[in-house]
């Protein structure tokens, strides 16, 4: 596909490479921002969209590569540099102070003052109101942000960016929390901004929406630039096929150990979301012994909330969970662990490890009750259990007594897995177990999983990596907005089907609201 360059390029990123320890987030990516156009950036979770926009907004600096602003090379090292060059960003999570009013939020950290001391509230409010009126919103500049609806808060964010005289506006998933009418208003605002010559970088998972609003589209996949094209020339299937990269790339061998015996049965599992709607919306599924059931979905689809419900972390949960015929819907985390559920949390550092403790202490934290004589920890049986676990998971450690933070990410992850396995679980809940670990360690984690199911465990496996989930799962459920929007067998699944099922709820903004 050829790119017509009749439109003026206002910002150009050339050969941008960004390395994080252990991963290449962006690999020689070129990105053009056309003046007065909506430049759409699209890709899977972890494709590098956020990293790229953070580089443009000065939050991160590229390892290699150059940015050109109107064909002049520029260095953007900080938020202030970005502001100076007229680049503004609206983050996915709103960055507003709910305890302050709209005008104060708009002028935060650059208040209009008399003599540098006294804040001129009147001038601030007047100017803020002018910007808000231009956006055709009914928000009063004196209203407290906490009193506004999410959609209105989004408007305040936009006003905040515009007050900075922004020429290039980055919008990260601006519609994810908006109702249909609010989305319409936003689109109108965007087209007004375009007329005023503001260039927009637009990120969204709602593919239909992108086709409506976008002028140019850039697709990223695994940190690589896949395609850039004018929106007129392409359609939704084109986007999907470019997003998933080269299909059919299955290197991992997999042999099913699935039995007919149901080990975990989930019926009508429901978790109300704060405000309205459901974070987990009437889920029904079952897991068999020796089965790996993959759960795929985008961020915010309700996967982590599902696991929290299953582990007893959500007291408001409704429905039934049967583990080996026994009702385990209610109860504390301890009850769930003892009845045979074990969780490998998504965020290893925040939820998996106790950093000041050593490998042995971390690994046995969940299962200390197994190594007791009276109330005395029996060191020898504990040490031999840890030794066996270290060997069977092939954790690379100098000694079981070294501090946990001295291990590499992959080995830390194995310790977290070991901790779960020492509780003798019947069902293992793995939330993004391969996140942030290198390729070799990923393979080892998969080997561990395969080994476990061959011993009759059931595994629920959450990931946002398409290739992984297709390679290692017996069955795949796709979640979107708290619901199951697709179920696929290992044999019949395609990446395209997974992606489109995961975007189901995103296609209809109306389904998110009311």
């Amino acid at each position: 596909m050829t790119v017509q360059t009749r439109d003026e390029v206002v910002l150009r990123a050339e050969n941008i490479t960004k390395l994080y320890p252990g991963t290449v987030a962006l690999n020689k990516v070129n990105f053009n921002v056309y003046k007065g156009k909506v430049n759409v950036l699209v890709g899977e979770n972890g494709a590098g969209k956020s990293t790229l926009t953070k580089i443009l907004a000065g939050v991160e600096t590229p390892t290699k590569g150059t940015l050109y602003l109107a064909d002049k090379p520029v260095v953007i090292n900080s938020f202030h540099d970005a502001t100076k060059h007229g680049i503004g960003m609206i983050h996915q999570e709103l960055n507003l102070f709910p305890n302050l009013n709209v005008a104060e939020n708009i002028f935060i950290a650059r208040e209009k003052t008399a003599g540098g001391i006294h804040i001129d509230h009147k001038a601030q409010i007047e100017e803020a109101q002018k910007i808000l009126d231009n956006l055709e919103s009914d928000i009063r500049a004196t209203a407290k942000v906490s009193e506004l609806r999410i959609g209105q808060q989004q408007m305040v964010e936009i006003a905040k960016a515009l007050a900075l005289d922004t020429k290039i506006l980055i919008m990260d998933e601006p519609t994810s929390a908006l109702s249909v009418t609010e989305v319409e208003v936003l689109f109108k605002v965007i087209s007004d901004l375009k007329k005023k010559g503001v260039s927009i970088i637009y990120i969204s998972h709602r593919l239909e929406e992108l086709v409506t609003i976008g002028d140019y589209i850039t697709v990223l996949c695994d940190g690589n630039l896949m395609q850039e094209a004018p929106m007129k020339e392409i359609d939704v299937p084109w986007i999907i096929s470019n997003m998933v990269g080269e299909a059919g790339n299955r290197e991992i061998t997999y042999e099913s150990h699935k039995t007919d015996q149901v080990i975990l049965e989930v019926e009508e599992l429901t978790l109300p979301r704060e405000g309205r709607g459901y974070a987990v919306d009437h889920l029904n599924f079952s897991l068999k012994k020796g089965e790996i059931l993959g759960i795929y979905g985008l961020m915010g689809a309700g996967r982590s909330e599902l696991f929290e419900c299953l582990m007893g972390l959500q007291p408001e949960v409704k429905g039934t969970v049967l583990l080996d015929g026994q009702d385990v819907t209610r109860g504390t985390v301890v009850d769930h662990i003892r009845s045979g559920l074990a969780l490998i949390p998504e965020d290893r550092q925040r939820e998996g490890l106790v950093q000041p403790l050593d490998v042995t202490q971390n690994m046995t934290l969940s299962s200390l009750w197994k190594f007791l004589t009276g109330f005395h920890i029996n060191d020898s049986s504990l040490k031999s259990a840890v030794g066996r676990m270290i060997k069977s998971l092939s954790v690379k450690v100098a000694s079981p007594m070294v501090i946990i933070s001295s291990l590499s990410g992959g080995n830390q992850q194995k310790v977290v897995i070991g901790k779960a396995l020492l509780t003798d679980p019947k069902v293992l809940l793995m939330d993004e177990p391969t996140r942030g670990i290198d390729v070799g360690a990923k393979g080892e984690v998969f080997d561990i999983m395969k080994n476990l199911v061959s011993q009759g465990l059931g595994i629920l496996f959450v990931t946002s990596e398409l290739k992984e989930i297709m390679a290692i799962s017996d069955r795949i459920l796709v979640m979107s907005d708290g619901r199951i929007t697709g179920e696929f067998d290992r044999e019949s699944v395609t990446e395209e089907a997974l992606v489109s099922a995961s975007a189901v709820a995103h296609k209809h903004p109306a389904a998110m609201q009311i």
Binding site: V334, I337, Q355, P356, Q361, L365
Partner: protein, 328 residues
């Protein structure tokens, strides 16, 4: 070939330096104690005499006992500001029970308890004070600093109320009431060693055992190291927190009784600022205020550093104002 061997030699040298550094870092409190002792034995005659050492250890024991309770609280990431007041309150409770007995206005009777019962009730009062702090922290999510600050005022006020601010004097008890023997705690000796030192040894060993060899101890460290991970691993975080505040109250009650027993009197202002000494001893002994790190042994050494510094300055005749500047 040559260069690699040089490299390994250099890295080996670096490694051993690193190890030495780690060792020095680990023993830093001990080294400080050693230096302080050496300094005072030169500066103050009689410093190293047996009699003086025993007196010093008796002083240290009180702070060390408080600091042991404090260590567990700090390891969970909390703080207990109430221990000084609880020392005052429990001293007054023990003193009042011996001197006045427990007066029940409804039936207009006064009960005098035997000494073991007095001790048990006093310990229970200390534990209850801790339980109140723990309850505030767990149930209402009050920051430990605030919860225990509240307890500080409650306990001090209660101590003053018990006697209208007066002292309970002469706590020897009466033969006919069967409550004699209280002074033994503070001034009794066994095999020439004060009873309070035995108490410190027993409590120290029990606490060290709890910290290293029981699930509860492991859970205390995990809560301070990463509360969320501990919770997800099946640690009952709230129970653990409740325990550490109750244990700290327990330790404060022991210290309160020892002081009242030493003086054979209890005064409601006893124990003011002790919480800061206890925190200082724990932190000096390597306990991290961020939680997750700290040892009982380290804390006891920390208490010794503070105690020896104070007593040594007294022996050298340093003015008490200067003592305060130096931090005792």
């Amino acid at each position: 070939m040559n260069t690699t061997s040089v490299n390994t030699a250099a890295s080996a040298g670096k490694k051993s330096n690193l190890k030495l550094g780690m060792l020095l870092l680990k023993l830093r409190t001990f080294i400080a104690l050693f230096l302080v002792v050496v300094y005072f034995s030169f500066m103050a005659p009689n410093f190293l005499s047996m009699a003086n050492l025993v007196i010093m250890v008796k002083h240290v024991a009180i702070y060390a006992i408080l600091a042991i309770g404090m260590t567990f609280v700090i390891v969970t990431g909390g703080i207990d500001l109430s221990v000084g007041s609880v020392v005052g309150l429990t001293g007054m409770v023990a003193g009042g029970l011996i001197y006045n007995g427990l007066h029940i206005p409804v039936w207009d009777v006064t009960i005098y308890f035997h000494l073991p019962m007095v001790i048990l009730i006093t310990l229970a009062v200390g534990v209850l004070c801790g339980a109140f702090s723990g309850f505030l922290v767990n149930r209402f999510n009050v920051a430990p600093f605030i919860a225990t600050l509240g307890m500080l005022y409650i306990a001090r006020g209660a101590a003053l109320l018990l006697s209208d601010g007066k002292t309970f004097p002469n706590l020897v008890g009466k033969e006919e009431l069967g409550n004699t023997g209280f002074p033994v705690l503070g001034s009794g000796t066994f095999l020439g060693v004060p009873v309070s030192i035995y108490i410190l040894i027993v409590l120290g060993c029990a606490a060290a055992y709890l910290a290293t060899k029981t699930p509860l101890g492991r859970h205390i460290y995990s809560v301070g190291g990463n509360e969320r991970a501990a919770m997800l691993s099946g640690v009952r975080v709230k129970r653990v927190k409740m325990f550490v505040y109750m244990f700290s109250g327990f330790c404060a009650a022991i210290a309160g009784m020892i002081i009242a027993s030493q003086l054979v009197a209890s005064h409601p202002a006893t124990g003011e600022m002790f919480e800061l000494t206890a925190i200082a001893a724990a932190v000096l002994g390597g306990t991290s205020l961020a939680g997750g790190r700290g040892t009982i042994g380290g804390t006891i050494i920390g208490a010794f550093v503070i105690g020896v510094l104070g007593d040594g300055m007294v022996m050298m005749g340093v003015s008490s104002f200067w003592q305060m500047v130096i931090g005792y």
